[in-house]
């Protein structure tokens, strides 16, 4: 009786007769004042709750409804600004008086339906609320559902098949390429819309001058998340059946988006199989020009066909803080990150090498521990104006990586690799734009002057200790340092749609390699010492033409360079001239369709880290030797791509095709010496050929507030190598289809379904192996019986073809119960891998070997988590 007061003022008996109609009459008043309420709705519902009659009150608040019988029926009186009132009619005397209590009327939140995708000029706006499902937490979860946007497993975002070139939060580029921090941290509830800016030119000074075919993403925050600190986090603990013991998962995320200051900080730790290293990846990072890579390649066994969270036995932590200050002139950004990752893996492997004189089988039981600490700092000053662009980026990155691998089997051994990596770089770039005086037709000439200076230093010392039982210790040390400097000046001018630029500069490179392996195995035929320097000095000029005609952009680049290589007597010094022209055509006839065709051809130097006269041990049974001379390779490629979108219908499609050819004057050769495999390069010509095709189509499914995506890809690669002195030509072909459907078909149910099918085949010397298929089905049902409760039921089914027509099926089930205590607090209990599947068998094929493995899976896991949000 809190909100309902019924007074019976009068009673009136209606004579009971055979054909009697009951007249339900009454008066609606405001509680307290007793004033009559005119215009209130009165709904008469029968015993089943169906609406049979209705009326509205007159100026005196009176209503009258005539019905056959009122027994078991109800009337419902409602009016805007008043609480609804239901009155049972059994035994009630008419007319009745119904008093309504004033109450705020609230529209449902879902009722405010913005168009899910809008388009204005080059900007596509996705409304987050139209795509988010109850089970989503971060904005990254919702981005995956937006047609046209693809989030790869690593977290890398693509729009219409192309990598994005900027990730903004409220128009500010706080994180650069490390946007995984944002997509994995920002609650989708704080984001109002995701904007995609097509053909985004991040440097204002180049706008209208240089064409960009890349898109950028901007997160538009809701007002409640702006000008304040937004926090969210969770803490969870529980136990696991494999690895046996306690598990934890914690996360704290803080974000401030103020007028002149932005900060995102995050602290995460878990041992539940969530890989945190991907979240720190800089997706915009250019490859390091120091161009050194580890020689030691002791690797942990990998599982290609299961979701990572099923197989990763980890202990991970990361801390990242990123700040941006808007200054009077430009902005300053500081990013500091630290991460720790410890991964263990155990595997039993049987490796079969396919050799011309019969297969060779090696059995291994491997058990590895990989520990990595990464510390990085990035400090950026940037001024981005229409006439000036200045950017200076100082970047330091230190990794400490230690990997231990113990093995028993054919060659029992332990390996330990220490591979710290020290890197520091500074990039400076300045572009100045001058606008000339306009000509008779009011068009003016733009001149651009660019200065660039890039300096990088990297050291990658590697120590590999191998202890083969019975054979004693092998200890190899590799010293590898490089310094790269690049100074350039560019001048460009644009006039009536034509941009001509000339870019010239000097590149210098110094690298030293020092390797020693004192106690080499006697099977290895040669020295295991390397002391050498590979240096070069390059002078280059790169003219570039860009032209706009009838919505076609033509761009031609013709770089020409002269390089002098100095190898410090290890091999003969060389001078080379390189010319690598490229041409690109972009056509965008309208907002819906765009097409790109491009091609390039050129000569390039070989990777200098292949120059190494002595042997280097890469792992306990492999050695590598470099080339005997300096070589250059040639390559050509042709590619075409197209995109289509119709934002009104929420339809996005893209397709691409690429063919490339390469010719090397050297060929990778593989030779067995006893139990050791030796890789070296023979001076024989080898050709590579590769064809890739990919396409995708995405569509919103408005009827269930969802979306569907279908993606396909095909690739064929042909390469040559020499195995045991005989040439092997291998062709690997693979195709893959992925589909994702998600939506909320019923008010209390939302569904995520993912399907992946892949097939691949490796052909050696035209002897075709059979196609091997892999299928993954993954389904998540989220049942919401009540706004406060959610129940997730998830299942994954894998069907892997181990060898021709032999399949391995695995089913993994998860469940989760979530209770929303308040808007701020959620409690969650999850049980993963209910069936407690602990092992997984699979076979993969390498170029010259097959690899059969039995691996462990993460077992059943119970986790209790509390989620907090501000």
């Amino acid at each position: 009786m809190k909100t309902l007061i019924i007074t019976f003022l009068l009673s009136l008996c209606v004579a009971a007769g055979a054909a009697a109609q009951v007249s339900v009459t009454g008066r609606v008043i405001e509680k307290g004042s007793g004033e009559a309420l005119a215009g209130a709705s009165v709904i008469f519902r029968n015993a089943e709750g169906k609406i049979r009659k209705y009326a509205s009150t007159d100026a005196e608040g009176n209503f009258s409804i005539s019905v056959p019988s009122a027994e078991g029926c109800t009337v419902e009186v409602s009016m805007i600004s008043f609480g609804k009132k239901k009155v049972g009619l059994s035994g009630v005397k008419f007319p009745m008086t119904i008093a309504l209590e004033p109450a705020a009327f609230e529209l449902k939140e879902v009722a405010v339906k913005a168009q899910s995708i809008r388009e204005q000029g080059d900007t596509i706006t996705y409304s987050v609320g139209s795509f988010a499902q109850a089970q989503d937490r971060t904005i990254g979860d919702v981005l995956k559902r937006m047609p046209g946007i693809d989030v790869e497993k690593s977290g890398k975002i693509k729009y219409q098949g192309e990598n994005i070139n900027k990730f903004y939060i409220e128009g500010s580029d706080l994180l650069g390429g490390k946007y995984g921090i944002a997509t994995n941290g920002i609650s989708h509830d704080d984001v109002g819309a995701v904007e995609v800016m097509e053909n985004h030119q991040p440097m204002q000074v180049l706008s209208g001058i240089s064409f960009s075919d890349k898109a950028a993403i901007n997160l538009k925050l809701k007002n409640k998340a702006k000008a304040t600190w937004a926090f969210n986090g969770h803490a969870g603990g529980g136990c696991s059946w494999q690895p046996e013991g306690a598990v934890w998962d914690g996360n704290l995320f803080a974000m401030a988006v103020m007028g002149s200051f932005q900060n995102i900080s995050t602290l995460k730790t878990n041992n539940t199989g969530e890989n945190l290293t991907d979240q720190m990846t800089d997706f915009f990072a250019l490859s390091r020009e120091t161009d050194i890579s580890p020689y030691v390649r002791v690797t942990m066994p990998s599982v290609p066909s299961l979701k990572e969270k099923r197989t990763l036995f980890n202990r991970s932590a990361l801390f990242s803080t990123n700040s941006l200050w808007k200054l009077k002139n430009g902005e300053f950004k500081a990013q500091l990150d630290y991460s720790f990752n410890r991964v263990t893996a155990d595997a039993a492997n049987v490796t079969t090498y396919f050799l011309p004189d019969g297969d060779r089988v090696i059995t291994e039981n491997r058990s590895g521990v990989d520990r990595t600490h990464t510390l990085s700092g990035k400090f950026i000053y940037e001024l981005n104006r229409r006439t000036t662009f200045v950017n200076n980026t100082l970047n330091t990155n230190i990794d400490w990586n230690n990997l231990r691998l113990a093995m028993n089997g054919s060659i029992p051994n332990t390996q330990s690799a220490d591979m710290p990596d020290y890197f520091i770089s500074n990039n400076f770039k300045m572009i100045k734009r001058f606008t000339g005086s306009p000509d008779a037709r009011g068009r003016s000439k733009n001149h651009l002057v660019t200065f660039r200076s890039k300096n990088e230093w990297e050291s990658l010392p590697q120590t590999l200790d191998v202890n083969v039982s019975g054979d004693g210790n092998l200890r190899q040390h590799v010293g590898n340092h490089a310094f790269y400097t690049h100074e350039s000046v560019a001048y460009a001018f644009s006039f009536s749609g034509v941009t001509v630029s000339l870019d010239g500069g000097v590149k210098g490179y110094v690298r030293s390699l020092d390797t020693s392996l004192p106690d080499m195995p006697e099977e290895i035929p040669g020295t295991t010492q390397n002391v050498l320097n590979t240096n070069y000095l390059t002078v280059y000029a790169r003219p570039k033409f860009e032209y706009w005609i009838n919505r076609v952009n033509i761009s031609l680049s013709t770089p020409l360079s002269f390089a002098r290589y100095d190898f410090d007597k290890a091999i003969a010094n060389r001078s080379e001239v390189y010319f690598s022209p490229s041409l690109r055509l972009s056509w965008k006839p309208n907002n819906r369709f765009s097409m790109n065709v491009s091609g390039n051809s050129g000569r390039s130097p070989m990777a200098l880290n292949l120059i190494q006269p002595g042997y280097i041990m890469t792992d306990y049974r492999s050695f590598q030797k470099g080339v005997d001379d300096f070589y250059t390779s040639t390559s050509q490629s042709l590619s075409a791509s197209m995109t289509f979108k119709n934002t009104r219908k929420g339809l996005f499609a893209d397709a691409m095709l690429r063919q490339s050819w390469g010719r090397n004057p050297y060929t990778l050769a593989q030779q067995l010496y006893g139990d050791y495999i030796v890789y070296s390069y023979s001076p024989a010509k080898s050709n590579r050929e590769m064809l890739t095709a990919a396409g995708s189509i995405g569509k919103t499914l408005d009827f269930m507030r969802g979306s569907a995506n279908l993606r396909g890809s095909f690739s064929r690669a042909e390469s040559h190598l020499i195995s045991e002195n005989s040439p092997v030509s291998s062709v690997s072909t693979a195709w893959n289809v992925r589909a994702r459907i998600s939506g909320q078909p019923l008010g209390w149910l939302s569904v995520d379904y993912y399907f992946d099918y892949a097939e691949n085949r490796l052909e050696m010397n035209s002897i075709g192996a059979s196609w091997l298929g892999k299928m993954t089905n993954s389904l998540l049902l989220n049942i919401m019986p009540h706004p406060k409760w959610e129940w997730h039921i998830g299942g994954e089914h894998y069907r892997n073809e181990i060898s021709a027509d032999r399949f391995k099926n695995v089913v993994l089930l998860d469940t989760k119960l979530l209770f929303r205590l308040s808007r701020r607090i959620e409690l969650c209990a999850s049980l993963n891998n209910i069936l407690n599947r602990r092992t997984y068998n699979y076979t993969t094929y390498n170029q010259l070997s097959s690899f059969e493995s039995q691996r462990h899976l993460r077992g059943r896991e119970l986790l209790l988590t509390i989620f907090l949000k501000k």
Partner: protein, 284 residues
């Protein structure tokens, strides 16, 4: 840019004399997409689709076009800006300008005021180069509720049908929003009408958004009155429209300038559709 400006204006409390009178606070605003087939023999190509708004106060409600309302309020409150924008868009691309001008004005140039004055319905419209207005007694459709339900904008809606003014209407209303309102003259159900159409599907209204807070007041838009409004009876209003639809605009202009005298209204102009209400004298 233009859009945001216009939207900004729509949010502005329009309280200037001469623009709107008899205002009262609004309690709810409903946006409907209104589709009107203008040739029932070619209904896939000949139709107009337009955003309309129903602003509901405690006493009265007003139903009109969003685009027309926005454009007119800009012309009224900031004519300088409006003409500057017009000129800019014209010099940029005259062809495109013609198209966008039409878009900015919308196609639905009527406004329906329910319970204004009390117990009456007032409709205003502009056609045949004149502003028109009539008042009539507020006649509500007599609905019959069926058991069919469907969800619109997250609200459970029930189906109701009624014969009203020459067409049979089907409406979907939600008892969850206790407002006896709807698009055009449709109303009187125990809940807001979120979708409605006639049985020939010549007219269709579907709600696409609801707004409860930040709504300016609702009142009678009187900004055309100083130009002179022809106040007529309902029958005369619709009959004039029917005649106008059958008229030869060229002949009319020629007649106006005394060039040639010829009948301006003829049955030769076939009109393959009619108003929402069809129970008015159709003589020419």
């Amino acid at each position: 840019m233009l859009l945001s400006l216009l939207l900004g204006l729509a949010f502005m409390p329009a309280q200037a004399d001469g623009w709107e009178r008899d205002t009262e606070p609004a309690i709810l605003e409903v946006f409907y997409t209104r589709t009107e087939v203008t040739d029932t023999t070619r209904r896939n190509t000949d139709f107009f689709k337009e955003e309309t708004m129903l602003r509901i106060g405690r006493k009265m409600s007003r139903y009109c076009s969003v685009t027309k309302f926005n454009r007119d309020s800009l012309v009224y409150f900031n004519p300088d800006l409006y003409w500057k924008m017009e000129a800019e868009s014209f010099y940029k691309d005259p062809k495109e300008h013609d198209r966008t001008t039409l878009k900015r004005s919308g196609r639905y140039w009527c406004a329906i005021y329910k319970n204004y004055p009390q117990g009456k319905v007032t409709e205003t419209a502009y056609f045949d180069m004149e502003d028109w207005r009539y008042e009539e007694d507020w006649e509500k459709p007599q609905w019959e509720i069926s058991d069919s339900t469907k969800e619109i904008l997250g609200y459970e809606c029930m189906m109701a049908t009624a014969d009203y003014r020459g067409r049979r209407w089907t409406a979907w209303f939600t008892p969850e929003i206790p407002v006896q309102e709807g698009p055009w003259k449709l109303c009187g159900l125990p809940g807001l009408i979120l979708e409605a159409s006639d049985n020939g599907n010549v007219y269709h209204f579907i709600a696409n958004g609801l707004r409860q807070s930040g709504i300016p007041d609702v009142g009678f838009l009187c900004y055309r009155e100083k130009r002179g409004v022809t106040t007529v009876t309902r029958d005369k209003f619709f009959n004039s429209w029917w005649k106008y639809r059958h008229s030869d605009v060229g002949a009319k202009i020629r007649a106006a300038y005394g060039i040639k005298s010829e009948p301006t209204v003829s049955k030769k102009h076939q009109v393959n559709y009619d108003k929402e209400e069809t129970d008015y004298p159709h003589d020419l």
